[in-house]
Amino acid sequence: MSTTPNDGNDGPMRPFDEMLETDGTVRMAYAQFGEWLEGASKEFLTRKNDEADMMFRRLGITFTVYGDAAQTERMIPFDIIPRILDPQEWDYLARGTIQRVDALNAFLDDVYHDQAILKAGRIPPELVLNNDAFRPEMLDMDLPRRIYAHIAGVDVVRTGPRDFFVLEDNVRTPSGVSYMLENRQTMMRLFPELFATNHVAPVERYPSELRANLRSVAPIGVDDPTVVLLTPGQHNSAFFEHAFLATEMGIELVEGQDLFVDDGLVFMRTTEGPKRVDVIYRRVDDDYIDPLAFRSDSMLGVPGLLSVIRRGRVTLTNAIGTGVADDKAMYVYVPEMIRFYLGEEPILQNVPTYSLRNKDDYKYVLENLESLVVKEVHGSGGYGMLVGPKSTKKEREEYTKRLKADPDAFIAQPTLALSTCPTYVDEGVAPRHVDLRPFVLSGQRTTVVPGGLTRVALKEGSLVVNSSQGGGTKDTWVLER
């Protein structure tokens, strides 16, 4: 079945089509795949789509929708058409994301020690020190290998052949990697023939790399560390992923109630009595991790955990206080961090960003709401955003009131013409906007598994790819040379 490029009168806003050139010829990365797609009938694709749907349901891969009284379980729609990157594109992305995460780790080590970057006047100190995500409890603590963000998800969007922009760094508890792995499994079952003709770089080694990575940051003196994954529990929206990763790594999946602190160490309750825990890959937020240190009403954490961390007798990944690095207000300074700590020029660009705390920016944003995307500094998940070009006059007026009430809480960015990928939809195959989250691991070395999570906005014209807002996912292929 053939696809057509975006026909549209979008003019300069016409988005970059990752499969097709403007004249309709198929780009290099998609050459083999394009031929296959040409021969695939609508009926065939529909059948495969139904099969994929059934596979996910049977496996019980669901997420919980928050704010829904019934706590309905839903599936993130999976798109059967892969997103394909050629070796050069990937090489560029890999170097760019690794560079970025190295700088973020250096920044975190710095702000919790000497604060050289603040003293040098490269970042306004109040932005860091008054930030809610800055944790004074972490000051002057030396972490194994000086790593804070062991697992990072860097959200990247594309607007042209070599134009990649980082939209957001996720260095708290980024999720989505299980979809990267399950999507690949599903594709290999659905279309084995495609993997014979396309040389797709494998992603399957991610769990063992992650495990080795977690072991490499164990407290000093522990030779054979016990690693566990700490989950908020099975009603958390990402629980499936937590269980999946624990299975793949062969480690225990624990909840706060399974752990306790005794005699300056962390133990888990097992059928054979207490067992010491050395590394905790936590998927519980900072606020909930230790009711003695942070939110006292938290039932998800482990009382006294912070004291053990501070004594270096257990390693928490990611470390407490990483949020100060991926805050939307800090985002604008990441290129500066790269220059300051690595002495390099950023490989990946930032999206130009207006901080409303800045007077000139404030004025500009209020006058140009129609063409901008406005986000809450502390927001996530695509909630509370204003997408200017898609907004009504009434929505903009409502939003203006919020901006005026608390300008510091917002940033704005130009609306990017996100690239599109061919996607299976009811009418056939049509272009839909996508982004990409590669997963970067830091430990002994900084690595990134070739691929990542491609999210796709399934609604025609929509730029919001979040699963909570009607987004789906695709398998991401990196072709090998």
């Binding site: 496996l59 019980g60 299975t247 909840e255 399974d258 309750r269 059928t271």
Partner: protein, 309 residues
Amino acid sequence: MLSRTADNLYWLGRYVERAENTARLLAGTQRLSLMPIPTDEAGNLWRNLFQSEFEENAFLAKHSEFSETPVMEYMALDPENPSSIYSCVHGARENVRAARHVLTTEISQCINETWMEVKKCRPQDVIDRGTQNYLDSIKERAHLFRGVVHGTMRRGEPFMFWELGAALERAENTSRLMLARSAAFHRAAKRDDGFDFYRWGTFLRTANAYSAYRQLYRDIDPVSVADLLILNTQIPRSLLSCIEDSAEVLRNLKREAQCAAMAERLASELRTMRLDTILRSGLEGFLHDFRKQVHVLSDQIRVDFIMVR
């Protein structure tokens, strides 16, 4: 192994077994209701499925009489009844989710598919499909689940806790089944003429013991039925089999645990017991006492493996 995960596996074993047993009980009772029954028993046929005043009251809060349709609906499909088939399958699925990291994909798929089926079932669907067909499908799913666990799971601690939960639940269910029919046992023993081939046949089928009975004993008489279901170790659901299975698992898990000794003691007591002694001193009293001991054993298992500091 994490204590909480052990608990999940233990309850998984119990829930699946309980769902199947409830299905058996309902199917057997329905078949029995189609036969000529002495009036004193007929009036209580559906009511006897409830074990305590507490359970009866929970039912009566929603329904007005103990008759087939409301009891069937309450015990099979009612999400508010914590022991309904619906609730058991839901409970099994929640425990599979929580212990997902020690289970195989096949196990998780099997329970998800079962849950999808059970979840969408409405009272009218059951009537349309035929109640027996619906209950048969629950039994089949339980057989399938057991087969998948046996065929795919590593023989380690998680597997043993699953076995343990299943064995103890069976012990409870067989004793419960016998209690629900204790009036019939009583009358048969006393008059020695209340014998009815079809009714006892139905009863044995409910306990999944009909063909075994036919092979081991000749004619059907209530004393032999009781002997089979209490003391015969050739069928998996006899009280002695269930306790011996539990004792074996506990021995393998932790020989020196208190609960292991307790199960061993219970098994050897049963082994040396004679049926006429049990009947002389009263079947009902024996069954109540047995259930009490199973509860004490379950509590000790919690103390030894789950609540450990």
